[in-house]
Amino acid sequence: MSIGFRVNGEPVELEVPGMRRLLDALREDLGLTGTKEGCGEGECGACSVILDGQVVDACLVPMCQVDGSDVRTVEGLSDRTGPLSPLQRAFLELGGAQCGTCTPGMLMAAQAYLDAGGGPEDGSIREAIAGNLCRCTGYTKIVDSIA
């Protein structure tokens, strides 16, 4: 089916099966490989993207649900040639990224939290990223980066 939506502000039109995963459409049809697959069943959050303001696991979202929506991925956090966003910069400076596989999803969960007015409280930040598994950092520096 034909699905029209916006990715990082740019309108796109894809001819794909309705049950194709948003994750595959992003990675394979649009070449946006920043979004990662960690488990394919909604447990790890590596594929988190922002869909109409909400954080979702792109591995669980079929394309038929994306029609007319607005999708934000890690590639949209800063201009390709421009400086890092304040959130990305904080992750870089404070050590919020190590192996980098959870990072795109973690950034999107954090961005959605901040966009919704989230503050620097440790517990609230941890709640906001509880669906995003990281195996490298122990989360301390991720929480510091978001705070």
Partner: protein, 763 residues
């Protein structure tokens, strides 16, 4: 979010502010210390911007036109005779490539320490995830259908799942000093204990994956997620009968390893390469999470039995220890894991009479392998349990007991190694205890101990626990001498240096600290130092990126290479390298420096008798954990961990803290929730929905204290950091559970079921 500039003078957090050993904030002392004396801001993670913008290319992000998709057909039985592969004649096989053992042009083996593991099974299936055949197809739909059209004909054989019942031994070790039997007989008190630890999954967030591309010279290039390119390279040569140059291994950005990508990538690479060879096309072999958990290596389960003899005043007089590890179906790295486990089993404690015996047995379960700590977390958990139980039996504080026992300069270990320098057990212990206010907190939690008053009425109990460990730096015994690691440092005609090494970045910071070390030595900026891609056709074998050896051993080589480069340029030009390198290059041409490992001075180990310097030096770690235990449900919340780790020299504060924090949380998971349930040799919870690791909500606040007790055998003094925190987290958490509830949990993980059972038994 805080945008803290790298050179900020923001006061460091309280925990690291007090004593002078720790360098504050994100500022580092020149890694070469007093030789140059400069203080430089630490660079940010070199590949960080790529990882933060989605530009970093991991294996599954590589676009390879025309590539087919590969899959592995695995056994579904733990032990069976393999009789044949049946391909459903109703399926259209014209679009699919099938590889069996008959298609292997070289030897059917993925060798590690022994050459026992086949690439593909020929007659005997030895574990349920064993690879039997390979498929490749142009798209995933056809591949899935093809997988369903394959049947294995097998005949079941009796299987062994318990290492204590196995009669196939992969390895054994024995070390000891003194006369344990005599000393034990003279002890006032003998404490006995048996401790069991299970499998643990590395659970790097990026699954294993390789893409193999046929080469015009008849060979193959594989791109993939890996720790050790020079493990994969010989594996390809041997199985595919290739020359050195026909097998090329290129590391893609690697999303975590923790040991799990030490040996298994060789199998994935050989499988992908065989499919590429037969199909004549590139083949993508990317595991999904379920396959990755089911088939790849785990931390070795172990049963560790202790008899510890002490005098009434707390003096440790004898330790008699037996370690049995479950190696799984093939040998892999098991003998070395066992060896490290045995060498660390005595704990960091002075004892005149010690005997440690270990054996690793085969079972019909998937092979176990490397995982952060490499045998030491298993035995040091048990060692710390014993120390805490001795303290309890003698009515001593666990801190006081350790202060009495801990190794000091000049003490002798069970391999007769005399600790001549860099001994910081006491320091990490005191620093962790002080920062956590251990004794004061323990007084507060005292009422709950021993199942006392708090236990009956309260629904919740709090406790504090501590643990201490040592971790041998670098490879065990004569390992580094045998590895003969090499790095190159090249300078081009413009005077720009490039580091060429086989050491890999998997998140720990290799790509950041190596340019930093060279830049500091040459007096130039980190950005003026390049790193060659990890490609076996370009870089030399710098040894595997394992054993917390990279910063220490390979880092030392890089510094030595940089010193030679500087000397060559400065001798010719009479001016500083930074001001004269480009003139030198234009006048004399490029420079190629090869730096080879030279054995550390006065370090000797006898492989035959297993005596001598098991490691050139040790790192030291202490952890204090605080927990809340729900007495109705048995659930444990780890509230905080204070970790003090002696890493020799801090090369990069943020990266080193990141290692300690990440390792600590893996240890907390090991202690509390990470349990691989094995039923008839199969992992029952082989999905991320059922094998749980800590989330941000489960994770405690982790406070890191970095202690610097440098090792003189390397120019920068660094001893490695990656594995240290893994040794202490679990015993600290279990000690805290005891402090809260009065019950000892002897088996990891300390699940609610085990805690409730222990509480019931205590009533």
């Amino acid at each position: 979010m805080i945008s803290r500039p790298p050179t900020s003078t923001t006061p460091p957090s309280a925990s690291i502010a007090e004593p002078p050993m720790v360098v504050p904030g994100p500022v580092i002392v020149d890694p070469l210390g007093s030789t140059r004396g400069a203080v430089r801001p630490a660079p940010f993670r070199r590949e960080g911007p790529d990882k933060l913008t989605g530009r970093a290319i991991y294996v599954d992000d590589l676009v390879v036109p025309g590539a087919w998709y590969g899959a592995t057909i695995r056994s579904a039985e733990p032990h069976a005779r393999f009789l044949g592969l049946e391909l459903d004649p109703a399926f259209d096989w014209s679009q699919v490539v099938v590889v069996t053992a008959a298609d292997i042009p070289g030897e059917n083996v993925v060798a590690s320490i022994q050459a026992d593991q086949p690439v593909l099974v020929t007659d005997e299936i030895r574990h349920h995830a064993e690879a039997v055949a390979l498929l490749a197809a142009p798209d995933r739909e056809i591949l899935r259908a093809a997988k369903r059209a394959v049947r294995l004909r097998t005949e079941p054989l009796p299987a062994v799942f318990d290492p204590l019942e196995s009669d196939h031994e992969f390895a054994h070790n024995e070390v000891g000093i003194g006369d344990v039997d005599v000393a034990m007989a003279g002890a006032d008190l003998v404490i006995e204990g048996t401790y069991r630890v299970g499998h643990q999954e590395q659970l790097y967030i990026e699954n294993q994956g390789m893409i193999a591309i046929p080469r015009d010279d008849g060979g193959v290039t594989v791109h993939g997620s890996l720790q050790c390119p020079y493990y994969v390279h010989p594996a390809l040569k041997r199985a595919l009968a290739l020359s050195d140059s026909q097998a090329v291994v290129v590391q893609t950005e690697t999303g975590g390893g923790f040991g799990g990508k030490e040996e298994y990538p060789s199998i994935v690479a050989v499988h992908a390469a065989l499919l590429a060879r037969k199909s004549g096309r590139p083949v993508r072999m990317i595991y999904d999470r379920h396959e990755d958990i089911s088939a790849t290596t785990k931390r070795h389960p172990a049963v560790v039995t202790y008899r510890t003899g002490v005098m009434r005043d707390g003096t440790l007089v004898a330790q008699d220890i037996e370690v049995v590890m479950d190696g799984g179906a093939y040998c892999t790295l098991t003998p070395v894991v066992l060896s490290r486990g045995v060498l660390h089993a005595g704990g960091p404690y002075r004892c005149p009479d010690v005997r440690i015996r270990g054996r690793a047995m085969a079972t019909n379960t998937p092979p176990n392998g490397a995982f952060r700590g490499f045998g030491a977390p298993q035995t040091e958990f048990a060692a710390e349990m014993q120390a805490n139980r001795v303290a309890e039996a003698l009515g001593l504080s666990p801190l006081a007991l350790r202060r009495r026992w801990v190794y000091q300069l000049g003490d002798m270990t069970p391999t007769q190694q005399v600790l001549r320098e860099s001994v910081a057990g006491q320091e990490v212990l005191d620093r962790a205890a002080e920062a956590s206010e251990f004794e004061r907190t323990r007084e507060r939690t005292a009422p709950g101990r021993g199942g006392g008053a708090q236990g009956r009425a309260a629904r919740r109990a709090s406790g504090i626990g501590l643990a201490l460990a040592w971790h041998g730096a670098g490879f065990t015994g004569s390992g580094e001498v045998k590895l003969k690691s090499v790095v190159y440092l090249d300078m081009d005609v413009t005077g720009r240096p490039t580091i060429l090494m086989g050491s890999t970045e998997m998140g720990q910071g290799t790509k950041t600290i190596f340019p930093q070390l060279v830049a500091a030595e040459l007096g130039i900026g980190e950005d003026d130092v390049d790193l060659a891609p990890v490609d076996t056709s370009v870089v030399p074998d710098s040894g595997p990126t394992v054993a917390s050896r990279t910063a220490m051993v390979v880092g030392g080589l890089v510094i030595q290479a940089a010193r030679r480069l500087r000397e060559q340029v400065e001798t010719a030009t009479g001016r500083p390298f930074s001001a004269s390198a480009s003139d030198y290059g234009q006048e004399h041409g490029p420079i190629h420096i090869e730096q080879r490992f030279v054995p550390y001075p006065d370090i000797h180990f006898d492989d035959a008798t297993y005596t001598g310097d098991a490691y050139p030096c040790f790192g030291w770690a202490a952890a204090v954990a605080e927990v809340d235990v729900d007495l109705d449900t048995g659930e444990v919340a780890v509230r905080s961990v204070v970790a003090a780790d002696d890493v020799g020299r801090v090369l990069h504060q943020v990266l080193a803290e990141g290692q300690v924090e990440g390792g600590t949380l893996q240890a907390v998971g090991y202690a509390t929730i990470e349990e691989m349930q094995v039923v008839d040799g199969r992992y029952r919870n082989d999905r991320l929905a059922t094998y749980l690791i800590p989330t941000a909500l489960d994770a405690p606040r982790i406070e890191t204290i970095l202690v610097e007790s440098p090792y003189s055998g390397v120019p920068h003094g660094a001893k490695g950091v990656g594995e240290l925190p893994m040794d202490v987290g679990a015993p600290a958490v279990v000690a805290a559970i005891h402090d809260a509830t009065g019950v000892w949990i002897h088996d990891l993980p300390a699940t609610p079921e085990r805690i409730l059972a222990a509480l019931r038994a205590a009533r």
